[in-house]
Symmetry: C2
Subunit: 188 residues, 2 copies
């Protein structure tokens, strides 16, 4: 199914350049960075950018896929180091921190866990959902996480925690606080 038509050399070169420029620009100006500016930085015309990446979302995903996969891999590291319940919380902490510190990542992960009926299956979505699934299942088996929550709900809640934390200070200092309110509940 996956047609493997080798890209022409110039196309591949421009693709790489665009990715590099995009990562810089998103880091610098957030997810709203000017696309024409990214093309300019990469030394290509804007047509070239739009041909390779039809939407901002596509570019964002391509630029950050490595980082997202690192985050997913981190889930398995943590699972090896800590008991399941703690591994899950620690991972959610790192995930939320990433969403706040890496500009643009929050939007990307948000759309990866959005229930669009137009559900484009994104590589980022697959990675992150897989990682969450493994941690959630282990924690539930261990008995430290209620059995009726779905992995994707946990991801959405992490997004919510990142949002709440962002409102608080724009850095990530309050993530642990909100995460612990979530895990322990609001009752005394």
């Amino acid at each position: 199914m996956t047609e493997v038509k080798p890209m022409r050399a110039d196309a591949r070169r421009n693709y790489e350049r665009l990715l590099k420029a995009a990562a810089e620009a998103f880091a610098e100006h957030g997810e709203g960075a000017s696309l024409d500016d990214i093309a300019k930085r990469a030394g290509v015309g804007s047509g070239t950018l739009y041909r390779h990446f039809p939407t901002r979302q596509a570019l964002l995903e391509a630029a950050y896929i490595d980082r997202v996969e690192a985050l997913a891999a981190r889930a398995d590291d943590l699972a090896g180091e800590l008991p399941p319940g703690e591994a899950l919380v620690e991972w959610l902490n790192e995930l939320s921190a990433g969403m706040i510190q890496v500009r643009g990542l929050k939007a990307l992960l948000g759309s990866a866990v959005t229930d669009g009926s137009n559900a484009v299956v994104t590589a980022c979505g697959v990675s992150v959902k897989g990682a969450a699934g493994r941690l959630v299942e282990a924690a539930q088996r261990e008995g430290t996480l209620r059995g009726d929550v779905e992995p994707i709900e946990i991801l959405r809640l992490a997004h919510g925690v990142a949002t709440a934390s962002e409102l608080t200070d724009g850095e990530g200092k309050f993530i642990r606080r909100y995460l612990s309110l979530l895990t322990e509940g609001l009752r005394p």
Copy 2:
């Protein structure tokens, strides 16, 4: 302090018209509605719009202030009808639902509870924080809410719940679900 310089009749008229047009436009196109279009709907020039409302935020606030105050008043109604803990949860539910259903309200309330050092004290912020403060205090006194949470934290968490719920279905169907996960915690 509050200089009460009565507006000129034409100024007042245009102000009202803009508010009405803005409410329509925000409802129709979300918080990103075109400001020039709002001016056009109101039958005034864009200069007039920008004079009355220097920023999109200012217009958004003016257009929705009634609704926010209704929400704040609702807090006190609920406090009269239900025990404090339940009143709080029910209010948070209605608040979050409003953020999702009324396009633009989420952004407005978000900036009202953001800790900007450039903290503009907004009327919306005052209303909503006051209402939250009363409910939180009552629930804490009753002993159904942990004593170490601040009203503003609760508001930020509600924002997070609305965000998570929005990712789930774009309507408000999952607010109660996430709210109950938050109040009860994620442990079994």
